[in-house]
């Protein structure tokens, strides 16, 4: 009878992130000189999807109660790689895209192997591999440059039927083709189980290692999709250290905004996508209200704190202090 209430409780984080995003986006478009037009949405989508892909990647790892500090660097590395490979005839371009995605998978698989089989702490392992990936990216592109198949790039950053931003369609496709199957598969459940209670999962005969490995590997793939899109937007490859770090940290912020628990076992990549889009909208809001861009980091920080505090309000209602620690 009350099935929907359980469903609601499960989706609360995602719905909260959706709510925050909608409120911010409505404020943004209603104050935008052009208003809610296909153009405005397209620009916002193109800026938003980059962080959305990286945040999805982060979600997969965070669900296993790990953290991936190399996602931003995989994002950069694949950007540099794409600026070499995703060029030429349609055939060459296709092969290039496949190679870039494979590189992302490989980076993720290396992370997974080190964390799971090497038994290193995720935070340390991914700081190290992140530095390595950045180093490779820097060797590929010591200076910003390169190019990309512009037909593909324009199609991916343009609009379908002159209405729907193509980048959003790809994001939706990635959700349907990667996230949904993963979250409903045995491996996905194993990833959640390992994040929630690894001992209990082991005792129940859950394939913990395969689940976690799949999570790390797919995280690499998602970061690479983000890297491809970065190339489509910029037409170049650049190993920009600060940008990589920013994406890593923002992805964690987006994940938290999206209701994914950093303790693992709880949350959805869909929540993280809305978290990422909301986080990106902060900068746009400053723009329409004519603030100096210098204020952006400060405002992002404040809004992140406020949003995360929303989730903490429940603590004020706790009457048994032991529940603070659960």
């Amino acid at each position: 009878m009350k099935d929907w209430r359980y469903w609601l409780a499960e989706q609360r984080g995602t719905l909260l992130a959706l709510g925050i995003f909608i409120v911010m986006f409505v404020i943004y478009t209603s104050n935008h000189p052009a208003g809610f037009t296909a153009n405005v949405v397209q620009t916002a989508a193109n800026k938003g999807v980059l962080l959305a892909f990286v945040a999805m990647a982060q979600t997969l790892v965070v669900i296993t109660s790990g953290i991936d500090l190399s996602v931003g660097m995989i994002f950069l590395l694949t950007n540099c790689l794409a600026s070499w490979l995703v060029v030429g005839t349609p055939m060459q371009t296709t092969l290039g895209v496949i190679a870039v995605l494979a590189a992302g998978l490989l980076c993720g698989a290396i992370n997974g192997a080190i964390v799971i089989y090497g038994r290193l702490q995720p935070i340390v392992a991914t700081i190290a591999t992140g530095a390595v990936y950045y180093g490779v990216g820097l060797l590929l592109r010591p200076f910003p440059g390169g190019s990309v198949n512009e037909d593909l790039a324009d199609a991916m950053t343009g609009r379908f039927f002159d209405l729907v931003p193509a980048s959003l369609v790809v994001l939706l496709a990635v959700v349907l083709l990667i996230w949904v199957p993963f979250s409903r598969s045995v491996l996905g459940r194993a990833a959640y189980a390992a994040g929630s209670s690894e001992t209990a999962a082991y005792m129940s005969g859950v394939p913990i290692r395969r689940g976690k490995f799949a999570a790390y590997t797919l995280a690499g793939l998602l970061a690479a999709i983000g890297g491809l899109f970065l190339t489509f937007f910029t037409y170049t490859g650049e190993a920009a250290y600060a940008s990589g770090n920013a994406y890593t940290l923002f992805s964690i912020a987006a994940v938290v905004l999206g209701g994914v628990s950093l303790f693992g076992g709880k949350g959805s990549a869909i929540g993280a996508i809305f978290g990422a889009l909301a986080f990106r909208t902060i900068g746009d809001l400053l723009f329409v209200f004519d603030f100096d861009p210098l204020w952006q980091p400060l405002f992002q920080g404040v809004i992140l704190l406020v949003a995360v505090s929303l989730g903490a309000f429940a603590l004020f209602r706790v009457r048994n202090r032991l529940e603070w620690f659960l």
Partner: protein, 515 residues
């Protein structure tokens, strides 16, 4: 039984952990269609034995035979596939997943490569019904369920795996009396369906009711095997502890402290919908029990005294003076001097990876330090006293407390509070899942502390303990004190009937409400 190979047999199984021998050439034979009880103190090797059976640890030597064929299990999953399913004492449920997710976790139903949620729901509902727990919603998250419900989910999860051999390791320790009787009916039905059940429990009455066959373990060896009912309880306990067994409960003083001043009082204490107008008095030198079914507000009452609950109404008095206690740190201060031995020693009582020494000192750090620096000499002296007083068996003070046996861990929890010489001691089911020998020591210690002037409030799910240890027992039902039993009135019959809120023969005085 004769002729054909037994369903499962272990021969010459040995297992060492470092220098400690957990199992030494242990043998066990399990027949289909019977319930086999395993008895022994904690540390006797029972847990290791079943961990070997369930594929959690690999034995150093020995062999296992299933249907007469030798088998080895590389993981719990492999043992499951062979039909050996274990319900572990430490629950193996995943808190952030739903009940249904948990029930099918080791082998979810699949459709197009993805988990089939409808089929999963059906399996879960079916398994919950089979376990007699149809009241649990399959979509509820496990972390939102109370301990007794989780244990029912654990049992449902085991049944959903269609086991041939089902191992229950203290699987009823947190269950209410009503659930236990449901589970017993389930277990008996499974036996008649031809399953082999291994039943591990410290509760003799459960074993007497269920078991067909018993095996006693001591020091890693099986010391005796016998048909259930062929030995008296005293004989069995002697086999378990390997020494003469007498007077498990210390004698009670004749008219215990009836005239002493009240140390701890509650007046009309209410909290949320869990505590309802509770008034009680505990005098210095008294052991007062809290009885009733599990989850009737006993735990909340103890937490209320200890300053954990917010929004409490009513009054708490210490030595006749009203006090407001807002945190455990305040509760342990000198004017109050309260200690709480929590229910779950692993999460609320101990920091498992930290050493025995550190754990012992935590509650008394303020007394052991000057200007923020811990005085190692004083600490050492107090710790030595406690280790001696409680006879804590440990290989050293600087090993992680998680390496001790359950009984010794519980002693550390108690010792940590005794380092402050508390005047009021609250105990929340302190003997759950620990062995007879340690239980006996804890009973003696409680009486000794009361005799030295402490006021003790003692919640237990074990009626024998309440009868054996308490001067008075307050029976809670639905957050309210339904009955007070004094001295000789504390009988199993009176405890059970008031726990179920039905009037026994010696009807309680004017406590309204028909059941």
């Amino acid at each position: 039984m004769d002729g054909a190979a037994p369903l499962f047999r272990m021969e010459g199984i040995s297992k060492r952990y470092g220098g400690v021998r957990a199992l030494e050439k242990a043998e066990l034979t399990v027949e289909a269609g019977s319930i086999h009880a395993i008895l022994g103190e904690n540390g006797a090797g029972k847990s290791t034995l079943i961990k070997v059976m369930a594929g959690v640890v690999a034995p150093d030597e020995g062999r296992m035979m299933l249907d007469g064929r030798e088998v080895t299990f590389a993981s719990p999953g492999a043992a499951n596939k062979a039909g050996i399913v274990c319900i572990f004492q430490e629950l193996s449920l995943i808190p952030e997943l739903s009940v249904a997710d948990n029930i099918v976790i080791s082998d979810p139903p699949k459709r197009f490569g993805m988990i089939d949620r409808k089929a999963q729901r059906r399996i879960a509902e079916d398994a919950l019904a089979r376990a007699g727990a149809a009241d649990i919603h399959p979509l509820a998250l496990v972390k939102d369920l109370p301990l007794s419900r989780r244990q029912m989910v654990e049992i449902a999860k085991a049944l959903a795996r269609k086991p041939r051999i089902l191992i229950l390791d203290e699987a009823t320790s947190a269950l209410t009396a009503a659930d236990v009787s449901k589970i017993f009916a389930v277990l008996k039905r499974l036996r008649s369906e031809g399953l082999a059940l291994l039943y591990i429990s410290h509760r003799m009455n459960e074993i007497a009711e269920l078991a067909d066959h018993c095996t006693v373990f001591r020091n890693g060896r099986n010391v005796a095997s016998y048909k259930a009912g062929s030995k008296s309880d005293n004989e069995v306990v002697e086999l378990m502890i390997g020494r003469e067994y007498s007077h498990i409960f210390p004698p009670k003083p004749p008219a215990a402290a009836a005239n002493a001043a009240p140390r701890l009082e509650a007046r009309k204490l209410s909290w949320a919908d869990r505590l309802d107008n509770i008034s009680l008095t505990v005098r210095a030198g008294e052991v007062v029990g809290l009885g009733g079914l599990d989850g009737q507000g006993q735990r909340e009452l103890l937490l209320a005294f200890f300053g954990v609950l917010r929004g409490l109404s009513g009054e708490v008095l210490i030595d006749g003076k009203p006090v407001t206690i807002t945190s455990p740190a305040a509760a342990r201060e000198d004017g109050i001097g309260m200690a709480l031995i929590p229910e779950d020693r692993k999460t609320e009582g101990l920091m498992l990876p930290m050493t025995v020494r550190e754990n012992l000192s935590f509650a008394a750090l303020d007394r052991l330090s000057k200007g923020g620096i811990i005085d190692r000499a004083t600490e050492q002296r107090l710790i030595d006293d406690m280790v001696g007083l409680l006879a804590i068996k440990t290989a050293g003070l600087d090993i992680p407390v998680g390496a001790l046996s359950g009984g010794n861990q519980q002693k550390v929890v108690i010792a940590k509070w005794l380092m402050r010489q508390p005047r009021i001691i609250l105990l929340n089911d302190p003997t759950r899942g620990i062995d007879v020998g340690t239980k006996q020591e804890i009973y003696q210690l409680m009486r000794k502390l009361a005799d030295a002037g402490a006021a003790i409030l003692f919640y237990s799910t074990d009626y024998d303990e309440l009868i054996g240890c308490c001067d008075r027992v307050l029976v809670l039902y639905d957050g309210a004190v339904k009955r007070e039993l004094v001295g000789a009135e504390i009988t199993e019959r009176a405890l059970i009937s008031s726990a179920l809120n039905i009037h026994g023969e010696e009807s309680p005085v004017g406590l309204g409400a028909e059941a």
